[in-house]
Symmetry: C2
């Protein structure tokens, strides 16, 4: 089986797939296009392509049987451009890492261990109880709202319930899901949720329905202490309105991992938004690393290998987004 790997994950994937399959696979890293004929030759060769992006600029791929996305997001895949005879699959496996990141954010917001570490290393005892220091809040008793209740939302909820938090979950298709939140609703219940939550965790896919779903009117409905946590895609929260709400104190703060602008190898200096989110003290921000754990990588490449194995042996593919057309 001929497997073509594209993008930043290619090197790791080649190592792990090579270790598992040995001679049973021919692995090739997609050419960088310096010589324009190289990617054309690569795509003509490939039976499996592993890539987070695919569009109409890609050369014909007459032998392609499987486009395996080595991530969950489909927003860089133009399905209409993928040859009809190829199946399209994705992988998840990031929910543990993202739930842990989300709790790091909520706990840093409420407990502030890292912030207080910096002050205390400087010699500042402020806040110590024996000098009648100010108390802080507790996650216990607070409400977390999950906008989206797939793998990520449910991983957050399971931990939140153990922290004695109240969980409100909204999903496009409300139905019994484990764990059972304190309230389950559809996207039409967004307004009711927004005025209740202490933390809004955005963890739904970016689609035409969810793009800009959290804008000025929605942010205005939230408590002025509420915190927006975006671990999904930047554009689900409106870039301008979120910056405005944060800089004017309409909401309490944000923990943002997903962005509006991303770097490329030749533009590492780009900021993640056209607004200076990095100047806001009430924002904790990271470069899209929430789901990026070693465990996630090992699980994703294991599932990717399982799909290659399934293709080789005629078994069913997992996480099938679009079947191959006969």
């Amino acid at each position: 089986m001929k497997v073509l790997l594209n993008g930043g994950v290619a090197k790791r994937g080649m190592e792990l797939l090579s270790e598992r399959f040995g001679d049973r696979l021919s692995l090739r890293q997609m050419s960088d296009g310096t010589a324009p004929e190289d990617p054309i030759r690569d795509l003509a060769w490939a039976q499996v392509m592993i890539s987070v992006n695919y569009d109409a600029d890609f050369a014909p791929a007459p032998n392609l049987k499987l486009l395996q996305i080595p991530a969950s997001g489909l927003d860089a895949i133009d399905l209409a451009s993928v040859p009809l005879q190829a199946a399209v699959c994705n992988v998840y496996e990031h929910e543990i890492a993202i739930a842990e990141y989300t709790f790091n954010g909520m706990l840093e917001w409420v407990v502030g261990l890292a912030r207080r570490n910096a002050a205390f290393k400087g010699g500042d005892w402020t806040g110590t109880p024996s000098l009648a220091g100010q108390t802080r809040g507790e996650l216990a008793g607070m409400t977390v709202g999950c906008l989206g209740y797939g793998n990520i939302g449910r991983a957050v909820a399971r931990r939140a319930l153990a922290f004695d938090m109240k969980v409100i979950a909204l999903t496009q298709n409300p139905r019994p899901l484990d764990p059972e939140p304190n309230f389950m609703g559809g996207y039409g219940d967004l307004g009711d949720m927004l005025c209740e939550v202490d933390f809004l965790v955005i963890c739904c896919p970016l689609t035409e329905t969810t793009r800009g779903m959290i804008g000025g009117p929605e942010l205005a409905q939230m408590k002025d202490s509420a915190v927006v946590i975006n671990v999904a895609r930047g554009h689900i929260a409106d870039e301008d309105d979120l910056f405005g709400a944060l800089s004017k104190g309409v909401i309490g703060g944000a923990v943002l991992d997903t962005w509006y602008q991303y770097p490329s190898p030749d533009n590492l200096a780009i900021r993640p938004s056209r607004h200076p989110y990095h100047d806001l003290d009430n924002v904790l921000m990271t470069p899209h690393i929430s789901g990026w754990s070693e465990g996630q990588q090992l699980r994703r490449w294991a599932k990717t290998g399982d799909n290659i194995e399934a293709l080789m042996t005629g078994r069913d593919l997992i996480n099938l987004i679009r079947p191959a057309q006969p």
Copy 2:
């Protein structure tokens, strides 16, 4: 009932008890001793004393019926000095706050959200997946050891199990306790535990048994990646040996909230140890704030009020450390 309040918590306690009891209590804050006769008069007057410390220097308290410690630790109480006719009680209610702090520490260690926020605000995309950034670990699958399995250890364990961590619990008197850890043992199992854990959470009382329990030989048994979290009392971990192990990389790091030296109003510049823990990059340190939440204070003063009410109405005291001698 005449209630005397001592120390930094007195102001808050007077507010909350006054709100609950109104005229049913006479509340007085302990004099500062500028006039030596004042504390003598205070103690002669008191029927209830609320104080985290009590020793032989305290004046006679012939009317004292209850010494209520507004905290859990007994290490500043010399029981032999408390008049025999007085009962001694403490309060807990800090376990939620301490468990949240502990997870803030473990998550900051593994995920590093606050650390990465600082770098990213400076424009650094290092670690972003699209540039093949380095992965991180996950709490899921790691092992947390609770040295002590009282209210705090069990609050940590309940959250750790929801995070898919393995829990080892040691307690002086092993018995079935909720939640059930993956392994429960006595202090004699310390060596076996130390070589297993990724995080050692010290959450037992400071007693003659536990003083210095984590010293050089114990630290040497731990993984070189392991992290010591001390939310109990500084001296359970040996001050010199812990500093040595951290500065020489014998263990991976520490999250330290409890210390060897504390400030007083006239010495706010004191460092928390005679060693420069504050110079170590592998230490996150805070000024004894792990349990210091608003919820803890409200719950503690509610329990303290319940004990005063019990004394007034002849009901049983809760959290009785030593009964009154007839």
